[in-house]
């Protein structure tokens, strides 16, 4: 019966809590804004390089969003723990770096800064994962 499918589908439709999702999206926006504010790198002169940047940024953003969606649908499905919440957050934050890389095809952006912020987010989530392995929390 269809009603028995609902409890299966319901957590999938709400992969992570609203506050976690809001914090992650805000982090991604903050990374894009940081890239737009400080020491802008001029957009590329030729069209080929602009397309390369656009494609690379789009692929990075897509991969990051896919990662967050997969973590939300698997590890965080029944609530999850802090380690995978941190990985979910880092995944969505790196989508901001991908977005700024794609935007750098048209506008002046400090992409290296956004990538470093993304690596810092991944490092933080990696440390939480190591703590999870050690203490199981």
């Amino acid at each position: 019966m269809k009603i028995f499918i609902v409890p299966e589908v319901y957590p999938y439709l709400m992969p992570a809590s609203l506050s976690l999702r809001a914090f992650s999206v805000l982090s991604a926006c903050a990374i894009v804004v940081a890239g737009a504010l400080y020491a802008p790198v001029p957009p590329p002169g030729d069209r080929y390089q602009a397309w390369m940047r656009l494609a690379a940024g789009f692929l990075l953003a897509l991969g990051s969003l896919t990662l967050s969606r997969a973590i939300g649908g698997t590890f965080l499905r029944q609530g999850g723990n802090g380690a995978f919440k941190a990985l979910y957050w880092a995944g969505l934050a790196s989508a901001g770096a991908g977005l700024s890389e794609a935007l750098s095809a048209f506008y002046s952006m400090d992409v290296p800064l956004t990538i470093v912020l993304c690596t810092i987010a991944y490092s933080a989530s990696g440390l939480v994962l190591l703590r999870f392995k050690k203490w199981g929390k």
Partner: protein, 88 residues
Amino acid sequence: MDTIYYIIASAVCAGIFLLVYRSLRAPFFIFLLAAVSAIACASAAQSYTSDPGAGALFDILLALGGAGLAAASLTLTYSFRLAGDSLD
């Protein structure tokens, strides 16, 4: 001076994920290690020089990082599906 900080941040990030893979040992984490290492290498390559060739390498490494993240997520979804915990 920023270059040194960028390279240190990249090396620390790749090192942390190597430790994560060594302690958790799942296929998902090796894809994640590859993706994060590619992103970290991109960061180091871009900060080291402003040469256009380095810019192209940066784009390619970022694209590889994105592909690695997508591969990690597919592995994760597939392994949960194999374990009988299907998403749909």
